[in-house]
Assembly symmetry: C2
DNA sequence: TATTGTTATACTCTATAACTATA
DNA sequence: TATAGTTATAGAGTATAACAATA
């Protein structure tokens, strides 16, 4: 967007013309807003965004090592410990010692974890619906995801 | 270890099918990547994203109170203190006591701050060019900014 | 020696409460 | 009373180093 001073500026308002065009700034604001909404949706389940991602990944990749799950999410293995400890303590996940490599922990969902994830997926679906409505339809959502992917390349 | 083989998936890779569609997750990853690149571009100037935004805002809105600048950026006034202290200590900004309200601090760029911002804008321009290239052109960048705006509504 | 999980630690960002000086 | 700036503090999230057990 080219730098055109907004004509309808109240004299008391701060002029954000230039900052508002910074991609990183807009991304940060949008990400904070979306995470806030996510957390609000998941208040009853008391689940953070990273925790939901971990549950989904373990469900789809049972038996993977902690490091593998952490790596995919960009979480350092040292920081992953507290996260998985929390899910373990809630009885949603469990660590099993594989006989072939007793250094590692194979991650699995417990039956309670499977049931919990079923509920969480419904909440996620409602959350995604809100996002799609804000964006103006599924096509717009797909555009956004595609553009975000390009930024990460 | 049972492998649910998705077509085109290396048997050793973690299946991220479901997580990769979460808007919040994609947003977070993209935001982290963009901030990393921003920080890399601004390494020589030793300037954080929030600090650059503050300099731009003060340049465009000289004499504004700390709280006004902080509010626009979604920064709590308590956390803004350390940020503006840093810019002050580097001689880039200064706080003036207005005669009409001696509680507040009117923010201004110093001449050194103006010169510094001139250099910073060149770096920002180069950074933005990289983003636009990744996205596939200015039109795609505008699309992204519009979509991010919609998420914040 | 290298890897996995873990602990300890530190730094950034963010959030809240309480203080001060002014209004 | 209320506001602007400040301080102190606490909580996330993230980063690195080092250690024990295992490969």
């Amino acid at each position: 967007m080219t730098e055109i001073a907004e004509p309808g500026l109240e004299f008391d308002q701060v002029d954000t013309t230039e900052t508002s065009d910074i991609i990183g700034y807009k991304l940060r604001r949008a990400q904070l807003m979306v995470f806030q909404r996510f957390i609000a949706f998941f208040e009853d389940l008391d689940l953070r965004p990273a925790e939901y991602s971990v549950l989904v990944l373990i469900a789809r990749n049972p038996g993977r090592k902690q490091t593998e799950i952490a790596d995919v999410l960009g979480i350092k293995r040292a920081n992953f410990v507290a996260l998985i400890n929390g899910l373990d303590a809630r009885g949603l996940t469990e660590r099993r010692k594989p006989a072939n490599d007793r250094r590692s922990h194979a991650l699995h969902l417990t039956p309670a974890g499977e049931a919990f994830l079923k509920r969480a997926r419904k909440v996620q679906s409602a959350f995604e619906t809100e996002c799609i409505e804000k964006l103006g339809g599924e096509h717009a959502r797909d555009d956004l995801l595609r553009l975000l992917d390009k930024l990460c390349a």
